[in-house]
C-alpha cells in the first residue's frame, strides 16, 4: 500500500526511483507555478537537465507528466526537496495547481541525460525560453560550484512569462532579458541578442532549454557562430523511461545518418548541432534567423576539447 516515504527502486546512486513525495510548497511564479516536494532520493541523484515524471490525478489522465528539475535543495532540515516550475494549461498541469502543502505526489526520477559540464574553464551562456528557463537555474548553480562563469539570456512572450528575473540576476554574471512585446528587456527573441551577448561575455559554450522552435533557432545561430550548444528538448512522452519510443528526436550520428533517438533516455539533453531539425515536426515553423553574423565570437573550442567526445 502506498504510504508516506514510500520509495521503490534499486539503491544505486545513478538509477531513478519512484517516490511518494510530500508537497512542501506551492506558489505562483509570475505566470507559472512552482511546486517543491520532498524526496532525498531524487534530490541526491538529480543533475541539471534531468526531469521527473509526475502522476496526475485529473479525470481521464493516465500518463505521467514530465517536468524539468528546476532546482534541488540537498540541505533541508528533515528532507531534501526538488522544485519544478510549470505552466498550467491542460488537465494535468491544472490538477497540479490544486495540490496543497502536505499532499502526496507520485514521482519517478531523476530521468534523462544531464547537461554535460565543460571540461575546461570556459564561460557559459545559458538561454531559457518561457518555463524552459527553469533548469537553467539548477545548471547555473552547478556551474557556479565548478567556478565557471555563467551568463544568461532569458526570453519569453511578455514580462510575466519571464521566470524569476531577480533569481537570474543573483545567480549569473550577466543577464539579458528579451520579450516579444517589449515589456521587459529587449524587444524580440533570444536569438536577436545571442551574438552580442556571446561576444561581450566571451562565451565558449551555450546551453539552452525552451520550446523546440527556439532550440532550433539557437542551435542554428550557434552553428553560424561556431559555438558548441547543448539543448534540452521537449517531446511528447508516454513513459519517460525509454520503453515506448514515443519521444524520439532525429539526431545525426557520427556516421552522418539520422537516427530517431529517445529523448527521455538518450536525451532530453542533446548536442544541438546534431539534431536534424529539418526532420522534426517543427519543420514548418517560420525561420527566425535571416541575417548573417558579421564577426566570430572570441572563444572557440571543438566538441572533443569541451566534452571529451571522440
Amino acid at each position: 500500500m502506498m504510504r508516506r516515504g514510500f520509495v521503490q527502486g534499486r539503491s544505486e546512486a545513478d538509477t531513478p526511483v519512484r517516490a511518494i513525495c510530500e508537497v512542501m510548497a506551492r506558489r505562483r511564479e509570475g505566470a507559472y507555478w512552482q511546486l517543491s516536494f520532498s524526496s532525498p532520493e531524487i534530490a541526491d541523484r538529480a543533475r541539471p537537465g534531468q526531469f521527473v515524471e509526475i502522476a496526475v490525478g485529473s479525470p481521464g489522465a493516465l500518463l505521467r507528466r514530465p517536468f524539468s528539475i528546476a532546482r534541488v535543495s540537498r540541505q533541508g532540515a528533515f528532507a531534501s526537496t526538488v522544485d519544478v516550475v510549470f505552466d498550467a494549461h491542460g488537465p494535468g498541469t491544472e490538477w497540479l495547481t490544486s495540490l496543497d502543502v502536505h499532499d502526496l505526489v507520485d514521482v519517478v526520477g531523476p530521468l534523462g541525460t544531464a547537461f554535460p559540464l565543460p571540461q575546461r574553464k570556459v564561460s557559459c551562456l545559458l538561454i531559457g525560453g518561457g518555463y524552459g528557463a527553469a533548469p537553467m537555474y539548477f545548471l547555473a548553480d552547478e556551474l557556479a560550484r565548478q567556478g565557471l562563469r555563467a551568463d544568461m539570456i532569458i526570453g519569453a512572450a511578455s514580462q510575466e512569462r519571464i521566470l524569476s528575473a531577480i533569481e537570474a540576476k543573483r545567480i549569473s554574471a550577466s543577464v539579458t532579458f528579451t520579450t516579444e512585446d517589449g515589456t521587459l528587456g529587449e524587444r524580440g527573441r533570444v536569438t536577436d541578442v545571442l551574438e552580442d551577448v556571446a561576444r561581450s561575455c566571451r562565451t565558449g559554450v551555450v546551453y539552452a532549454c525552451g520550446p523546440n522552435p527556439m532550440l532550433r533557432a539557437v542551435s542554428e545561430r550557434c552553428r553560424e557562430l561556431e559555438l558548441p550548444v547543448q539543448v534540452a528538448v521537449e517531446e511528447h512522452m508516454a513513459c519517460g523511461v525509454g520503453v515506448c519510443f514515443t519521444c524520439v528526436m532525429p539526431v545525426r550520428a557520427k556516421d552522418g545518418r539520422v537516427r530517431m533517438k529517445r529523448s527521455c533516455i538518450e536525451g532530453p539533453v542533446f548536442n544541438g548541432a546534431r539534431i536534424a531539425w529539418d526532420e522534426t515536426r517543427w519543420r514548418n515553423e517560420p525561420d527566425v534567423l535571416d541575417d548573417e553574423p558579421d564577426e566570430q565570437p572570441v572563444q572557440r573550442l571543438t566538441d572533443a576539447e569541451l566534452w571529451g567526445e571522440g
Binding site: 499532499d103 511528447h236 512522452m237 515506448c244 515536426r281
Partner: protein, 327 residues
Amino acid sequence: MPDVRRIDPNVVDTARDTGIPVDDVELAVELAGIALDNPITTASGCFASGAEIDRFYDVTELGAVVVKSITLEPREGLPTPRMAETPSGMLNAIGLQNPGIDAWLERDLPWLQGRGAKVIASLAGKSVEEYREVARRLRGRGAVVGLEVNLSCPNVEHRGLVFACSPDQSAQVVAAVAEEADVPVFAKLTSDVTDIVTVARSVTDAGADGLTLINTLLGMSIDPETGRPRLSNVYGGLSGPAIRPVAVRNVHQVATALPDVPIIGCGGVRTVADVVEFTRAGATAVAVGTSTFVDPFVGQTLVAELRSWLARRGIRTITELRGKVVA
C-alpha cells in the same frame, strides 16, 4: 490528512484474510509447453529491449519478457507526434521502430540471455517471406522460449491490408513462421475484425501453438482547437484500461470456442484484479503494456501482489481460476 487515493488508482484489496501462507501459493504456469515461474509477461513494444526497466528492478522476476516486434531490416518508424492521451488510454503510432533482427541478435538478445530472462520474441514483416526469414534467424537461440507473430502489419503484397484482418493471410504468415520455428508460436490477433474466433481458428489450424489477445484497437484523436489530428500518422493504436473490457471479451470468446488453445491475455492490465479477470476469462498468462508507462514497477508489483491476493483467499494455484466465470 493527505488523500492518497487521489494519486493511485490501484484497487485496494479489501478481502478479509482467511487464507493460507503466501509461500504455499504456486504461481507457475505452463504456456503451450513453456514453463513460466509466473503468468506476468510484458506486452510487445512496451518494454523496449528489457534493459531499460532492469534499471528499476530485476526483469527476470517476470514470467517472460516479450520484446518489441523485430523486423528483417532496421526501422526508424513514423514521425512525431507519436502519441496522444485519451480517456483511460492512449493512442500510439510508432511504426515499429526497431534495430532489425541482426542487430537485435547481436546486442539485445545476449543481454537478456546473460540476465537469465525467458524471452518471447515478437516478429513482424511486410510479406510472408519477411516473417519467415526473421523466424529462421531466431532458430536455436537459447533464451528464446517462444515466438509471437505480430499480425498487425500492413501486407505490402496485398494492397497494404493488415494481415490480422484476413484469416487466410494470417494463416499463411503463421504457417511460414511455424515451419521455421523450433519453439512454440503465438499468433497475436487484433479485435478489429468481424469475428475474432474465425481468425483464431484459422491461425491455430495453420500451426499456432497459442494466441495473444489482443493488439491495440485502431483509433483517432483530433485537436478541437486546431482541427488537426493529434498523431502525425492520423490513426493510431488505442491501448490501456480503455480497451480492457474488449480484450476480456475476446479472450472469453476464443477460450470458449477453442478451450485447448493457451492464451496470453493483453489489454489494459494494471492491477492484480485485472490479472485475475483475464485468467477467469480463460487466459494462461497476461501481458502488461501501457501500465508500464504509468508505473515502471508494475510488472514486479503484480508478481508480488498476485501471490498475496491468492493467499488471502486460500487459493493455492493461479490455474484454479482459469476459465472460471460464474454463470
